[in-house]
Amino acid sequence: MYFLNKLKSILFYRPQRVIGWLIILVFGYLIIIPLLEMIFNTFIVQEGDVLRVGAEVGEFSSFYWQRMLASDFARKLFYEPLINTFVISITYSALAMSLGLALAWLLVKSDMPFKSIIGSIAIIPYILPSWSLAMSWLIAFRNDRIGVGAPGLVQAVLGITPPDWLAYGPIPIIIVLTLHCFAFTYLLASAALSSINASLEETALIKGAQDIEQIRKITLPLILPALSAAFLLTFARGLGNFGVSAVLGLPARYYVLSTTLFQSVKIGRLSDGYVIAIFLIAVSAVIMYGNNILIGKRRQFTTITGKGGRIRITSLGSWRYPVAYAVLIFFFFAGIVPILLLLWQSLHLRLEDFSFNLNLTYWLGHIDGFDGILIDNRVHLAAWNTLRLAVFVGFITAFIGIVVGYLVTKERGTKLSKLIDQISFLPYLMPPMAFGLVYLSMWAKPRGPLPVLYGTFALLLLAVSVSRLPFATRAGISTMSQVGNSLEEAGEVSGAGLISRFTKILLPLSKKGFMAGFILTFVSAAKDLDLVILLMVPHTIVLTTLSYSYNELGRLQFSYALAVVVIFISLLGTWLVRRLTKIDPFRGFGGIS
């Protein structure tokens, strides 16, 4: 009787709690269960391995782990890719951080001119899908010895043959990932630099410190927590990168963990993939945990820097303009040239042709039994799939984001609020390829009332939505905490129930946040390759996977043309967010997409 009354009172007075627990159940089912199941599967003999393992299907066995970690194959299958992955991740994170910090310093704390132009073009490489950046790297630096065997821009036009190490393997992967990701560290570093009140630095000067001493003893220690967070986040995302490593690594047989995982799954050795996926998830989780500790420390700093506001600007003197031009030229090459290269190649019949004889065959014509991308039925299907995937994902996640944001802010401080917050953040820990594999294994058989989802569009929708939850819920929480409690309470006092408060007060007030959330996940879903590549089947192809398949087939111009289309969607979406909502879409989150 007591519990019944309690239940009644919760249902009546705090219906949001019921919704909250429902959300936790659903999220738990969609995120935690598949992970546990995958771990479990690596200890169970799978069909097709009966002979190799010497045990029956479903029996317990440590065969898969032994094979990956301690057999003769282990070096090729696991340790080499592992070392490659770490080398790439560490190097590119360090580079991205240095570049990001330098740019942030110039934009926040120097008197460099053209700040607003530079600020907006600096994020273009970040908006471009990382794999498209890798493709354009090859357009510039490939040589006629490896891969498609056609000379790139440098060889064809300048007559210099780029060495293999510059075209394929770790060096270009590191460079491309750095170019793609440093905008993220730049955004984190500039937020940190802007939060340093000028008085902190000026006091050091007055106490007799020289500029260098002041930077070393005051400025750097103050932004160090933000920098280490940026480093860890980029590092963690680097572990899971697939697109760049596939485009630039596979032709030279250079493997990282995610490409190894992809190859294992492709040849049907799912369990090998599981082991790698679990390893990747575990490493990411450890890193994120470390990051949370660091962020906890940083809070200490930000609460006492006073009212903020004034930022100390250092004069570059006569270097002002030279520096600004150098930065502009750099971004022209990092952000604009890649797009032009992709477009340029797609407008030529032969890859070695960089002349001005443009040709629309790959867009509108027919060649070798393939249709130009604008008239090809497969492309139409892919475009249709991309569009509906992005729209649905955008809408679903933006809506869930707002609801979760509401619950978390409304119940702030309670266990429920923390639990929702944490559980919706979990997908962020999972490298996309690992996440894809988790969903592949989970939905390969019917689950409860739900049928087998593998091979359906619904699976793409579900996987991409869940993987974007962290972004959407963070956005939702920040939107909702801006709305403020009193507005809703005023509605409550005038007698509005939960539903009408939500639809009549909260949703209208969070319209902008909703829009921003929608467009951002729309863009991110439209350019996703790493996650959907494992889940798609011929009739659920999207533009990115089609571009990737053309790239694998060596039909590069088709691939590039499709990349241009995806880039166009990404740029347009980002521009729309800025235009419509005045929200800077890239604060707070990093990722390779």
Partner: protein, 383 residues
């Protein structure tokens, strides 16, 4: 050694002139206040002295050292001016303990560890923050942060301390306590304090000399008493007051020996020297007006009606209207025994030395009434 001389300092930010051709001398050991409304250029001036801003023209001496000369391209950077600066937000480094914060300047100067320790103990005693040395700034209260920040600036032995609105982040009670503290520290150290504030009471209570700035220009430079007693222009009169109430302003016209306004006239013999029909503004502080309940035939009494009253604890603030003339309103304090009610008839007695007369167009002071011996005031209605 820490006398400051500013000569024709001008500082512009784009088209805005923050400091306009300003010259000033600050004596050694002085508690000098720079007072003015926000945007008057006082902080900019302070930052120019600190070496954090470079003026567009002029010269600055600190002690006997020329630290800035626009004409000769001399600029000594902040790090070599050897002074202390307390910011409004204290600017304590959040990543350092109290001890590390205070010792920073000595470490930069490579002072020996023994000496550092000795000075740290002294300064912590002086500022009464003994025992806080291992704390981080965010573990301190506002008042403690303030003291640590003062300790950090004083420990280097710089005998010029610049303070930029140091008390404005404290709550009202702590602020009053810190005023006493600052006065004590100033007396104990005998350093030159240069104190920027927009709070006139802070300036009047703390300083040995105050300058008032407006739009980057000097309005008056004097000791606090003189500024209060004889404001040089209308701006100073309105800005400075003993109470939180705005000063009473009455329009009047000079006719012979009389000041004639709407519904009143006051007679002052020395006004004869001034041209007739000149328009003037009379400024009278509310706290200097005596409100009399019984009929008053004194020629300095103006008959009034109470139009509104606000009880403020130990006294009552009254809004008075001159009888028969509703436009002129006078604010005054009353702390007598009789109960005051609205519409009651009272008399406002205006002491002769309470009236400040300013030219209505230039706003400049037109002489001092209290210096005249035979000053007489008379109201029309009193006749």
């Amino acid at each position: 050694m820490s006398r400051i001389i500013l000569e024709n300092i001008t500082k512009k930010f784009g088209d805005t002139v923050a400091v306009n051709n300003l010259s000033l001398e600050i004596e050694e050991g002085e508690f000098f206040c720079m007072l003015g409304p926000s945007g008057c250029g006082k902080t900019t001036l302070l930052r120019c002295i600190a070496g954090l801003e470079i003026p567009d023209c002029g010269r600055i001496w600190i002690g006997n050292k020329l630290v800035f000369d626009a004409a000769k391209n001399i600029f000594v950077p902040a790090s070599r001016r050897n002074l202390g600066l307390v910011f409004q937000d204290y600017a304590l480094w959040p990543h350092m303990t109290v001890r590390e914060n205070i010792l920073f300047g000595l470490q930069i100067r490579k002072v020996k560890p023994d000496e550092q320790k000795k000075r740290l103990e002294e300064i912590m005693k002086l500022l009464q923050i003994v025992g806080l040395d291992k704390r981080y700034p965010n573990e301190l209260s506002g008042g403690q942060q303030q003291r640590v920040s003062l300790a950090r600036e004083l420990i280097t032995g710089a005998n010029l301390l610049l303070l930029d609105e140091p008390l404005s982040n404290l709550d009202a009670q702590l602020r009053i306590g810190m005023r006493f503290e600052l006065k004590r520290i100033h007396e104990e150290t005998n350093h030159t304090f240069l104190y920027v504030t927009h709070d006139q009471i802070e300036a009047l209570t703390l300083s040995s000399k105050t300058c008032i700035l407006r739009d980057g220009q000097l309005q008056q430079l004097a000791n606090p008493n003189e500024i209060y007693k004889s404001p040089q222009n209308l701006f100073v009169a309105r800005f400075i007051g003993g109470s939180s109430m705005a000063i009473n302003l009455l329009m009047a016209r000079i006719e012979g020996e009389q000041l004639i306004g709407d519904g009143f006239s006051l007679t002052f013999p020395y006004l004869k020297d001034l041209e007739n029909s000149r328009e003037v503004i009379l400024a009278i502080r509310p706290e200097e007006i005596q409100v009399v309940v019984d009929e008053c035939i004194d020629p300095l009494c103006l008959p009034c009606v109470v139009s509104s009253e606000l009880l403020m604890g130990h006294e009552t603030l009254l809004q008075l209207e001159l009888r028969g003339q509703k436009k002129s309103k006078i604010m005054a304090f009353y702390n007598g025994q009789t109960h005051i009610s609205i519409k009651m008839h009272v008399w406002a007695r205006i002491p002769k030395n309470a009236v400040h007369v300013f030219d209505s167009t230039t706003g400049l002071r037109l002489g001092t009434i209290r210096e005249e011996k035979n000053t007489a005031g008379q109201s029309k209605k009193g006749k």
